[in-house]
């Protein structure tokens, strides 16, 4: 039995399975949002059917900056979530 979740080993395994599926889904959403956001922000010229050098550069920088944003916000999220959980624990949950 996992003392944090109160689940048996078999239950933990089933949960892990489902979380893996969720993670695949979340990664796909993340990727889709990245494409949406960078394409919308960087591509506005439809006089040609190939990306221009300017557009390609913008997309590369957009991907890098979006990943930096994601990383920074995930760190903050983890910190804030931990301190909130600690607070709730102190109140007796």
């Amino acid at each position: 039995m996992d003392p944090t979740t109160g689940l048996t080993q078999a239950e933990s395994r089933e949960l892990e399975n489902r979380l893996n599926k969720r993670q695949v889904k979340e990664f796909m959403n993340l990727f889709g949002n990245l494409v949406d956001n960078c394409f919308t922000s960087c591509v506005d010229d439809f006089t040609s059917k190939a990306l221009s050098g300017r557009e390609t550069g913008c997309i590369s920088r957009c991907v890098l900056k979006s990943m930096a944003t994601q990383t920074r916000l995930s760190e903050r999220f983890a910190e804030l979530n931990a301190s909130m959980s600690a607070e709730l624990q102190n109140k007796g949950r």
Binding site: T5, L7, T8, L15, C58, C62, S74, M84
Partner: protein, 93 residues
Amino acid sequence: MSLFGFGKAQPTSAERISAVENELKVVAEMHTRMVKICTLKCVDKTYREGELSKGEAVCLDRCSAKFFEAHQKISDHLQQQSQQQGGGFGMGA
């Protein structure tokens, strides 16, 4: 963030897994929403740089802290409201 507690005496295995899965899902969705909103509020969309500027990074940190505070406030609000009125926030079906 215990929105889905164990109210009943002896939850079944499936219920225990669902409860943990739901708590994690709530946290994951909150994370996704925070990333979307704080990116919108703080990150310049012209992508002249592939890195976060100092100003953008600080804005993201503050935005995430404010987001958690707002999230908590709104959650408390709704809980009060639903105790006073016995619901009323839903489809009314």
